[in-house]
Symmetry: C2
Subunit: 128 residues, 2 copies
DNA sequence: ATAGGGGTTCCAGTCACGGGAAGGTCAAGG
DNA sequence: CCTTGACCTTCCCGTGACTGGAACCCCTAT
């Protein structure tokens, strides 16, 4: 299976697939002409990676998760820890973004948005 | 005023201050010895930039906001548009993160987190 | 023979800095 | 006067996870 077919099936750009090989997440075989020859197992791994990335896991988390997935002797506790840590980071990020949003919402609401120069947004940014 | 004093007052790292000069956000004078000589106006601008960055504005947004701040003939509508666009991006990001969080929370809750290999998190990532 | 649509590698750029090296400057102490 | 140590300077590399583009190879159909 060639890369564009795999891209279609996994909904990952060819560039991303090559990158994942470069950093050792997958190791597709090669045809005599040098083209990558993807097996079903490669496609499966890429789909796994795509879903993990869609959940916001870092590449290194994905590497860990994939290793756990392929380890029959894994403990689900190890998987859960990775997921829980990631979830904690997401909650932090959410809190930070909510804080920004609340401040911005307030400022935007206060601003007349007309032709005059007076602007509470700039006043806030320039406060002493 | 030397850079470390400015860093202290603005709560920005010296590296960041040098970077902001490099990309043209500020233009501090220089002493005869080559040291940057910051004026109060530079400190003021840096504080402005620090607050804008803390609200998540990109560097380019900051450049725009600073230009508007220094333009007496600005229209508050221009400021408001920058802020509203940024707010829209934040709302998008929030929705995305909430979606990730909801999925992850569910999966983490389902996972036993013990010594056994069975794991709904991996099952979900590997679903066909 | 050629045209096109694959594939390949490699290099550069993104964003907003941070780390660290190599070296100049300044004030204080011996 | 010399040294020490804390400043300051520039310069280059690395970050994460790709994306764009150049230059080139391969395969099939006309």
């Amino acid at each position: 299976m060639n890369i564009s077919e795999v891209a279609r099936r996994t909904d990952l750009p060819p560039k991303t697939i090559r990158y994942y090989e470069e950093i050792g997440l997958i190791r597709p075989a090669r045809d005599a002409n040098g083209y990558r020859a993807f097996a079903d197992s490669d496609v499966h791994k890429l789909a796994f990676l795509g879903r993990a990335r869609a959940l916001g896991f870092s590449i290194e988390d994905c590497r860990t998760l994939l290793a756990l997935y392929e380890d029959d002797a894994r403990a689900s506790a190890d998987v859960k820890r990775v997921a829980q840590d990631h979830l904690d980071r997401i909650e932090e990020k959410l809190a930070q973004l909510r804080s920004m949003r609340d401040t911005l919402t307030h400022l935007v609401h206060e601003c007349a948005g007309d032709n005059r120069p007076d602007c509470p947004i700039l006043q806030d940014l320039a406060r002493d």
